[in-house]
């Protein structure tokens, strides 16, 4: 499955406006352009933390669908997000998502969010997903 088809299969990802930015050997990089509706703190004009964790969730879901060639989005079991800095609304947020454990039923994934400099992370998270099992005919 190509990443854009996977994004279109997830209404929340489509609604946010996530775009594929780069393809890596180990995963994908996604991009989210700043919009005023994403504002969390008007005092510093920063992205809302909930948008960042939702973006990372979608990025990992799309990565799993594309790398493991699944038509159905996996369902999330848990996600632990660490916020490392504020994400300015002056520039886009990039999320690099990779699979850490490609299991048969449970898949582990990792995502890192950054802006202008890939070294200065805005947030990072690790998650577990359950693959949706198709009923046998």
């Amino acid at each position: 499955m190509i990443p854009q088809s996977a994004i279109d299969a997830i209404p929340y990802a489509e609604q946010l406006g996530i775009k594929l930015h780069d393809t890596l050997d180990s995963g994908f990089v996604f991009k989210l352009e700043p919009e005023s509706r994403f504002m969390g703190n008007p005092a510093i004009e920063a992205f809302h933390g909930g948008i960042i964790c939702g973006l990372m969730d979608c990025a990992m879901t799309v990565t799993i669908m594309c790398v493991l060639e699944k038509a159905e989005p996996p369902s999330i079991i848990n996600q632990t997000t660490s916020y490392l800095g504020s994400a300015s609304l002056q520039s886009p947020v990039y999320v690099r998502a990779e699979i850490t454990k490609p299991g048969r039923r449970i898949v582990g994934a990792y995502a890192r969010a950054y802006q202008d400099n890939e070294v200065h992370l805005v947030a990072k998270c690790s998650s577990l997903f359950k693959l949706v099992e198709r009923l046998r005919q």
């Binding site: 703190n41 933390g49 079991i77």
Partner: protein, 97 residues
């Protein structure tokens, strides 16, 4: 997840004694089952403690069948003049005038 982060932020604002800027430090989210599409969801958030500038929160999300997700978060509070609350109030007042 986005809604729970917002709800816990609002719970922190209601619990804090002085106006402060706040930011999420960590959010742990467990999804027990997928929510049902046709119903709206309810989010209950509780600020368990604010200690040494860190707020500790728990939250649950439920639909008509009961709880489908839970979350635990920590927020950091930064008291200061450029607080979130003041900017938010200024934005609201600006819209009203």
């Amino acid at each position: 997840m986005t809604a729970m982060d917002s709800a816990m932020g609002l719970a922190t604002m209601l619990a804090m004694e002085e106006l402060s800027s706040l930011a999420t430090l960590e959010l742990r989210y467990d999804e027990l089952r997928p929510p049902q599409d046709e119903d709206g969801i309810f989010i209950k958030s509780h600020c368990d403690s604010i200690d040494d500038g860190i707020a500790y929160l728990t939250s649950t999300a439920s639909d008509s069948s009961g709880i489908f997700a839970r979350a635990v978060a920590r927020f950091i509070l930064t008291p200061g003049s450029t607080s979130f609350m003041e900017a938010a109030m200024a934005a609201i007042n600006g819209e009203q005038s």
